[in-house]
Structures are given as C-alpha cells and as structure tokens.
Amino acid sequence: MNNNWSWETFMDALPFVLQGLWITVSLTITCYLFALLLGFVWTFLRKVPNKFFNWVVTWVMEFIRSTPPLVQLFFLFYAWPMIPGIGVTLSPFTSAVLGLGIHFSTYIGEIYRSGIESIDKGQWEASKALNFSTIDKWRKIILPQAIPPTIPMLGNYFIIMFKEVPLASTITVAGIMLMANSYGAQNWSYLEPLTIVGIIFLVLSYPSAVLIKKLEVKMNARFDKNAAIK
C-alpha cells in the first residue's frame, strides 16, 4: 500500500470522489424529507389517548433510537427481502432512505412534541376562552408559536443527517464515501480520497451550522418565552 501523502494522488482522486456528491446530497435531502414526514406520524401516535398504546409507541421509538442505524440499514437491505410473505428487494438508495429516515424520524418527532409542549398553558386557555374551533386553535394559535422555535433544531438534524449518510456506503450507495473507498481499492491509496471526503463534509456542514446558530439566536430574541407571561 502507498504509504506517503501525495498531492498528485489528491488531485487525481478529487474528480473521482466528487462524482458521488450528487448522490450524497440527494440522499440527504430525501432522507430528511422522509424523516420530517414520519416525525408527524410519531407525534400523532403519541397523542392517542390510550395508555397501553402510548407505552408501546414510546418503546418502539426508544428501540429504533437506541440501536445502531448501521444495523438497521443492513436489516432493510439484506434481511427485508428474505422475510417470507412481505419481503421485497429494496434498492440501496431506497433502503438508505427508509433506514436513516425511520431512525431520525424518532428524533424529529420529539422535536415536534417539544415545540407543542413549549407553548404556555395560558395560550391554550386563552384560545379556549376566545371560543376558537379546534382547527382554528391549532392553525392560528398553537402552530404559529410551536413551529418557529423548532426550526433551528430541525436545521441541526439536517446537518446530522448529512453526516450519517456515508453509512449508506456500506450498502453500496455510491456517494462520496463509496467513491473514496473504491478509489482507494483501485489505487491502493485511501488517505487522499478519504481526506477529500472529510474536507467536503467540513466545507458543507460548518457554514450551515454557523447559519443555524445565527438563526437560533434570532429566533430566541423574537420568541422570548417570558413575553407571554410578562
């Protein structure tokens, strides 16, 4: 194996690795949208007024959340087709969307819930006192207050998702990580292509994180929680 850093290899690997960028980015976006949607389902399920059902939902979420997404990907990719009756073969991309999407939807669901729970009790009472209908109550009072504070948190999860997407290289999704590994396998030098992957992640995620931090500060200033009480 090549044991010395070479800028020549670096420049040679760069276009090769970049070929995978589109897949990485589009997988991130697809996973994220799927998780955002599925998050609503969890929030809704946890609102069902049945103790036993709630308990089951809570622990299913806990199970998904505290087991490795890597294993969940393997399950969907290798095991799902083998399940008698319901199993179908999933493409690597679909497996990744389902696997990472489901995994992170449990976190997203919690964010939605925290948004709803952060609303002051007085707001619910006020909307009751003003005789709003259920739909109006949610549309005009609750959601406009619940959504904005969650936006920075949701933004953070977009970045987290982006950084988890290279896991999909293990089930042959041809993003930058897989490209780097296959370049390494072909040329016996892994370090340069992997460094490129690291730099790409840094270049894309760091500015986004800074942006979200700014957004958070702005949101906090606008939605001073004490304002409703003062």
Binding site: S66, F75, I83, Y190, S205
Partner: protein, 239 residues
C-alpha cells in the same frame, strides 16, 4: 399434489420451531462479539469524557491560542462523520505516525472517543456558561479564588446539568461502536454479518437479534439518562 398438501398442513408449527431453534443457535454466536462491543464502548466513553472536559475547559480559557486550537479540534470532529474519521484514522495512523497501534481496537476507540469528545466538550462548555452569573458573584462576595469558584460552586452545578446529555451521547457511542465491525473488529455486528453470509435466509432473525442485543445494552444507559434528567432538574441555578 396430494402429498404436498399433506405436508403443508403442520407448517406453521414447524416454522415456529425453526425460528426458536435459530434463535437458540444464533444467540451464542452473537454473544461472542459482546466482549469487543463492550470494551470498545467503555474505553471510548472514558476517552470521550476526558476529551470533553479538557476541550470544554480549554475553550473557556483566557489564552486565545489554546481556545483556537481546541476550537479547531471540536469543529473538525463535529463537522465530519464518525465513519469518515474511523476510516481516515485507520489509514492515517500508520502513515502519519509510522506506528501500528497493534490492533484496530485502538483505532476504533480513538475515533469514537475523539468524535464524541468533541460533541461533549460543547455540552461541558455550555453547562458551565449557563450556571447563573449570580452564583459566581456570590462566590466572589465570599472571597473565593477563581479556582475555588469553579471547583466549589460552578462545576458541581454544571456537572449536574451535563448528566442527561452525557447519557444521551453514551447511547450514541454505543450505536457508534457498531462501525468497528467495518474495520474488522469482531463485535456483535461482525458475527451477525458472518451468520448472514453463511445463511442468507436467516438474515431477518440474525439482524433482529443483533438489534435486540444492542437494545439490551442500551437499556441501562437509557435508565441512567432518565435518572440524570431527574438529578439535573434539581439543585441547579441557571438563568
């Protein structure tokens, strides 16, 4: 035709037995990886906690060089993926330092430890900063030195605040240990992969059991995290 139908009748029962037998067969196989998973988790958690406090405090230091340097470490490790770092270190350590660590175990521990150390250092820093200003002022009014203020007043409160996040990140670390199977470490997932490739039709039970294994390991951590949340809710002044 007739024969087939005759045979298909007791099938549900038979399938149940097959699954039970498979579980009994698979479980001990997976358990062989328990040792690696747990030791990697413990060692990387210790490294991560250590890095968290060192880097967290360094980022609050008055010295700008120390601050920038730790900032660089934190942002690089938070800005890239664990899997990328793991593979990078796997190839870089022998090259950059000219040493073989002797085993990939260390590579896994260093990658996971440094990665989550970076995340946790932000928790340490944030908790220290969020201890109310008045606490430090009261300590000053009692004529405590800078070090005493930190040790007796700020730190004990900050640590309480950190507990839930330390719990959460330890669960993340447990999940992260599954990556070491990718660099050839014989952890739970590694044995799962072996079983799967030797008998593809067993894949669903194998991976389900792997997940159950990780979940069982996570349960005490989940419990500790909830306990930590409970503790952190009392005994802290912030604002």
């Amino acid at each position: 035709m007739f024969n087939l139908e005759f045979y298909s009748e007791p099938k549900p029962k038979l399938e149940g037995v097959i699954i039970m037998n498979a579980i009994i067969e698979i479980f001990p196989q997976l358990a062989r990886g328990l040792h690696v998973t747990i030791t990697v988790l413990l060692a990387s958690a210790i490294l991560a906690y250590l890095m968290a406090f060192i880097a967290g405090l360094c980022r609050l230091s008055g010295n700008i060089i120390i601050r920038k340097f730790t900032g660089f470490y934190v942002e690089v490790f938070r800005g890239t993926s664990l899997i990328v770092q793991l593979f990078w270190l796997y190839y870089a350590i022998p090259m950059l330092f000219g040493i073989q660590l002797g085993s990939n175990w260390w590579t896994g521990v260093i990658a996971i430890g440094l990665n989550y150390g970076a995340y946790l250092s932000e928790v340490v820093r944030g908790s220290i900063l969020s201890v109310a200003q008045g606490q430090s002022e009261a300590a000053t009014a009692l004529n405590m030195s800078r070090f005493q203020r930190m040790r007796l007043v700020i730190f004990p409160q900050a640590v309480r605040m950190m507990l839930p996040e330390f719990g959460n990140y330890t669960i993340q670390m447990l999940k992260g240990t599954s990556l070491v199977s990718l660099i050839g470490m014989t952890d739970i997932l590694y044995y799962g992969d072996i079983l799967r490739s030797s008998n593809l039709s067993q894949a669903p039970i194998v991976y389900l059991l792997v997940l159950v294994f990780y979940f069982i390991l996570a349960l005490p951590l989940i419990w500790l995290t909830r306990k930590g949340e409970h503790i952190s809710k009392k005994g802290v002044a912030n604002g």
